[in-house]
């Protein structure tokens, strides 16, 4: 089965409505696959304020996991802990374990810089480097970590831009500034840039929230296409998006003292049709948040 193909279920697009039982996700239920990432009792603080507490979660390989929840519930913090970007902020720290492929990334012997080449990230607002061309942006991760072979760079650039569904649009203007593109294109450029270093995991923090609906759909297609190659964790405040795109969904909520907790995680179909926790159900049916 080559990348890009996936088993389809219904041929009609889902009917998207706001009440929970009516949301019909695209992906059929899968059997429990091999574990790619395990988050074990992860807590994180910004200075004195605790942002998330004791999050435990398993994320299989070749899987799209969506993290949903109202604003302030800690979903961004959680995801930033998965590539140790959280600790870049002054005074921020994390405790607990995040085990990827058998290795705890919070082990003191692990170099966070090297880790981030394995776990890539795409941000809410597209942030291409303004002083670089499209080509330079895509290969920035390689160039700045020492790879300079021109031919290799060009191959990687083309491949990454194709995977990000941007190649056709920019192949003739690779030497123009990265910031000349539209918002949606810039975001796909950032995805290409992240893919170019060939990570095993791609973290996406509300990647489409700043984009128009058409651009958003293209990003979602991209995610579904990438699913078979790479583990994706996507934070989104858009439940329909989570339903469309993910295999498994995790719901987070800020409890007392505004500390975020993981309430429930499960196959997307189950979360949206038959959530176990009442709070999940309340959120999904729109009773709050």
């Amino acid at each position: 089965m080559h990348p890009g193909a996936r088993s389809t279920s219904e041929s009609t697009p889902p009917v998207i409505r706001t009440e929970a039982p009516m949301i019909r996700p695209q992906n059929p239920p899968v059997e429990a696959p091999a574990i790619g990432m395990r988050v074990a009792r992860l807590s994180a603080w910004y200075g004195k304020h605790q942002a998330i507490r004791d999050v435990t979660l398993d994320i299989p390989e070749r899987n799209v996991t969506a993290i949903i929840g109202p604003s302030g519930c800690g979903k961004s913090t959680l995801v930033r802990c998965l590539n140790r970007m959280h600790e870049v902020v002054r005074g921020a720290r994390a405790e607990g374990e995040v085990i990827i492929g058998g290795l705890n990334i919070y082990d003191p012997a692990v170099d966070p810089v090297a880790l981030r080449r394995e776990v890539g990230m795409v941000f809410q607002r597209a942030n291409p480097f303004p002083t670089m061309t499209i080509f330079e942006n895509v290969v920035a991760g390689l160039r700045l970590t020492g790879r300079h072979n021109g031919r290799e760079l060009r191959e990687v650039a083309e491949r990454s831009l194709q995977r990000a569904a941007l190649w056709e649009e920019v192949k003739d203007k690779l030497n123009t500034p990265g910031t000349d593109l539209s918002g949606g294109q810039q975001q796909r450029l950032c995805i290409a840039r992240a893919l170019a270093v060939n990570p095993n995991v791609l973290l996406m923090d509300e990647p489409a929230s700043a984009l128009d609906p058409v651009a958003t759909l293209r990003i979602e297609e991209l995610i579904r296409a990438l699913r078979d190659e790479i583990m994706i964790v996507i934070v989104t405040h858009n439940m329909q998006q989570a339903a469309r795109v993910s295999d498994q969904t995790a719901f987070m909520l800020a409890g007392e003292e505004r500390v975020g907790e993981l309430i429930e995680v499960g196959p997307t179909t189950q979360i949206f049709t038959n959530p176990r926790d009442k709070r999940t159900e309340d959120y999904i049916t729109g009773r709050f948040g």
């Binding site: 990348p3 290795l103 170099d111 491949r159 569904a165 297609e221």
Partner: protein
Amino acid sequence: MTSTGPPIQVPPRSGRLRIAIGQGQGRIADRAFQIGVGLAAIAIVLSALGLAFTMLQDGFMAFTTFGPTFIVSTSWNPVTHIFGVLPAIYGTFATSVIALILALPVGIGAAIFLAEIAPRWLADPVAFLIEMLAAIPSVIIGLWGLFVVVPVIRQFEATVGRSLSFIPFFSGPAYGIGLLAAGVILAIMILPILTAVTRDVLRAVPISQREAMLALGATRWETIWRAVLPYGRSGIAGAIILGLGRALGETLAVSMVIGNMYQITPSLFAPATTLASLIATQFREADTELYLSALVAAGFVLFVITMTVNILARLMIWRLTAGEGVH
């Protein structure tokens, strides 16, 4: 739905992660860089501390030889080796005060014009011209001062001296060079900073203040005078102190027009000396250790004075940006 393009061959993924364990090279480079730029910052601190320390050290001989009389004695005699800097301190402050008195109305007036009255197309070029004044080297202003301004002042002194010489301020021969000339030149030199800072302060005053005043039926001028200026008064005070700080340390232009005579007289027409001009004109004559030490000590006094004034100015402006929000 559009296709994502032809199937792409992605290199097969290994089951293992490529994370380098314990490979600290990257960390070494990061550390080295951090230390490198940290050293540059230390260089700044060391320079400042070193400056204060070496000046104190080299001036120490003079300070210990003369004690506090160094500051209050009025004689500066390289022959008998008696050194006291009071006239120089007097000259430093007198010229700066004259400069402030002359520059203040012009600077604030200009700032008001640029911030409140002039349309953009006029204000920007005029502001630019005034700022450029600050870029002109001191020695060139001194040159112009010596050959162009001093003759004018000589004329002025002669005219005023004819009728008003009974007032101590205006007594004495009309040399041209002297306190007044130095004051005028300094005024020109501190005008740009006075104007620029005051203009920024006025621009930061909220529009609501002006509108409230206008709504009460005030004229434009009354609005400025009674609402805008008072609101920005601490910022303007900061600007004045900044201007003072600049004036106190100014050397070349002052040296060229002040006459370099070691005396304290109330007359504006009299030649005088400032700390900076004293050092500038005498340093090369200093042939003995005590002479040199006295000059360095004078420099230390100047350093302390200017540093105090500058810190004061910064504190005022700091308190401003923290408190009222007037930038």
